[in-house]
Subunit: 464 residues, 2 copies
């Protein structure tokens, strides 16, 4: 039996013990955003340190101004190295009454269709995903006494609460952390049968605008039409942001946005993405984006402008004939390819200012800014990871775009110059950040096996 | 000395006693909207009944499903009769901490410029105004033993809490209450030196719309641009409601809106209305309404469309990349002349429906509906009241439009077929509905004298 097959067999045999370990971590209430759980966050970091030491890693919890960062090295192997990133903190559990069971009392359930799942906060985001990787390392060490490649594991404790302490940590520990490739587990499969590697992530430019008109709320019966109404000004700004074809009207917005490379378009077309089912699942049916673009393009590779929130005046029950003193909106742009978030912010602000009357005032608040990122899918690590996933799942792994942002990806690229293979085993229905979060048992089990194979592949020469 | 002069002299001599009576009423916490004060509302009604009986009225408190309505008759005089309307209830006093003193411990204060004012909840809205009328009646009776005209006084206890019980009461007591002219005191002077009669009140059509898109809030990173965003749909609807010239775009909106009669325009022009000061007082300077219309036209005689409230998505601190499931707005139209609120509501709903995508849904909630009202300023009662006011204040009284709505005016017209002289002595800075409400001592004193003169004038033949 090859080393690989022996390690995979060990994973299968050890699954119950792996689940028991995962459940220990899931029971720790490491809610990073709530100071009441600071001790639990520390306890979770300490648990990982002990666990990783048990496998043979040189592990420690590093203090930050917030929750600790766990760093663990195993440099017994030679060759190209990897840095794995995961996070041990979880989202709050409110509203608690919407959970069918205690979110911190994890359990295995069998759904009506026979699918076995792990239920509880953190099962999918991110404890189940990160422990799948740790279990893969444990299996390699148990069977062969070594890892296929030099490995560093980095576990953050503030991913769900802003993560402000990670970028400076990466910068100040760049020499210790830099590796040949990054591995991130915080992503989803294409569907329950098809593994995926996310190779494109959109950037973000978030803005809040506050339109100030009169210096107080006015009675619309007395001042109606004569006094500027910030709701109306704001509505016009928002309405003007898209043209009749659904394109964003900011000057230069599409600079740096090429058409999709033909190879990628062909691969995406072959995915058989069901736009009707995608929209139908949330009660919609009419694609709302740019005329002539497929839904998959809209959500993966086209830049967007969304009004995430807006409000002004009286919003309670009943009616109040008020002209409010101010109105505000939170607007986010998802960016692709070479769009420059700073240029887009400037264009947006000029666009808004041009629509604010002379006696009104606009205030801008910046909410995040990041360029899109795309990895070279022809680099060896991506091909190896894809082949490993394909071997495990029996179905070709796909390179996909990602709609959301995973900020650490950008940080790894920026601070350490590393490309990152984003390969996770979550599913769209995992209810992350929501009540009754779950992770499929198959995602965990085959996730471990997938990482066993990826580590094996990364340890081999590109051309054997 | 004429009867009139004798009565005016009595008013001057009796002012301290009149203030003492007013302060008794002001101390009663007749907050109609709060059930905790039901007994105080009853006590206030009872006080008025006793007071009016003391003057010689046949007075009683009539039970309603809510707070009682006080009705008092004095039919000793002959000739054309009048129905006076006032309300004995007051607004709540929250936030209490913004009051400089106990709102129910009325006091006389002298402002920095020497103006003497009455401070406390209800001083202007409406106890001070209604007691000015009652004191005028008291003076007539004290000096001459009679009133100049047959008189009915109607005091409502729910004006500040919806007033739902008044219309059916007017209808069921129409024969008892009907008179030749209505008198309402619930209005303001043009300024502190210039008395005014409001002869035009705008109508209202209030609508709330709720745009429903996806069946849940969506992550804008995953669904951005592909999924309909109700904020964007709502913003477009609101933006489309006005054209570039500030005109409302609803089909048929300006049907029944004539140009201002030349006589009224001339009189309004002569008012010397300072649009710059009007807007400047609230921190604005650019009239926001229809191109080519004066600010006075905008607020008095032109129909308007205002967005009183709107909201959708995340409006808290920070940022949340959500596409909300719904967004909503509260929109009011102020109507003039013969605009039909029902036609306008129908036109608005058609306008909205035409802008809601096929996979979204709009819900409409109706919030009030009333036609504009205008009184014939050439009818004798209006001329008499104007002359009486001019004589008292030494400055020509003006006929003005009213921006707000005084629903009882419509009810008197509808249920009893009566025209109404709206003559009050409030001022724009009285802070009604707000902390530190006040009423000028001069408004009270000369208000009594004004009503003495108006009653006298109404009792004389039109052509002596």
């Amino acid at each position: 039996m090859s080393d690989l097959n022996a390690v995979l067999a060990h994973v299968d045999a050890d699954l119950d013990a792996a689940l028991a370990r995962l459940f220990v971590v899931l029971r720790i209430k490491s809610i990073s955003t709530d100071p009441a759980y600071a001790a639990e966050c520390q306890a979770c970091a300490d648990w990982h340190v002990e666990d990783l030491r048990g496998i043979g890693f040189d592990a420690s919890a590093r203090a930050t101004p917030g929750h600790p960062i766990v760093v663990a090295h195993d440099r017994s192997a030679k060759g190209a190295s990897a840095l794995f990133y995961g996070h041990y903190d979880v989202q709050p559990v409110d509203p608690l009454e919407l959970w069918d069971a205690d979110p911190f009392d994890p359990r295995i359930e069998t759904l009506a269709d026979g699918t076995r799942i792990l239920r509880g906060r953190g099962t999918a985001d991110d404890k189940g995903q990160l422990m799948a990787f740790v279990e893969a390392c444990r299996a390699w060490k148990a069977v062969t006494g070594r890892l296929p490649i030099p490995m560093t594991i980095l576990l953050e404790g503030e991913e769900e609460s802003g993560g402000v302490n990670l970028p400076p940590f990466l910068k100040s520990h760049a020499d210790e952390l830099r590796a040949d490739i990054g591995l991130i587990c915080d992503t989803n499969m294409w569907d329950a049968k098809t593994p995926a590697i996310v190779t494109m992530l959109r950037g973000l430019c978030g803005e809040e605008i506050i339109i100030h008109a009169a210096d107080r709320d006015l009675h619309s019966g007395f001042y109606g039409s004569a006094a500027a109404n910030p709701n109306r000004i704001l509505a016009r700004i928002i309405s003007d942001l898209h043209d009749a074809d659904g394109r964003v009207t900011l000057a230069g917005f599409y600079d740096g946005v090429p058409e999709l490379p033909e190879a990628l378009r062909t691969q995406w077309d072959s995915l058989g993405f069901d736009a009707k089912a995608f929209l139908g699942a949330v009660g919609l049916s009419v694609p709302a984006g740019e005329t002539g673009r497929s839904v998959l393009e809209m959500v993966w590779s086209r830049p967007t402008c969304e009004i995430n929130g807006m409000g002004g005046g009286y919003q309670g029950a009943g009616f109040k004939t008020v002209i409010p003193a101010m109105a505000s909106a939170k607007i986010s742009f998802r960016l692709v390819f070479d769009q420059d978030p700073h240029k887009i912010r400037a264009a947006f602000r000029a666009f808004v200012r041009a629509r604010v009357p002379a006696d009104c005032r606009v205030e801008f608040l910046e909410h995040g800014s990041g360029q899109a990122i795309g990895f070279p899918i022809d680099a060896p690590a991506f091909g190896k990871a894809r082949d490993a996933l394909t071997a495990e799942w029996g179905k070709p792994a796909v390179f996909i775009g990602g709609g959301g942002s995973i900020p650490v990806t950008h940080e790894l690229k920026k601070a350490l110059g590393m490309d990152v293979v984003l390969a996770g085993f979550g599913l769209d229905d995992d209810r992350i950040h929501s009540p009754n979060e779950k992770y499929n048992l198959e995602s965990f089990h085959r996730g471990i096996r997938s990482w066993v194979r990826i580590l094996d592949a990364l340890g081999r020469d590109a051309t054997p």
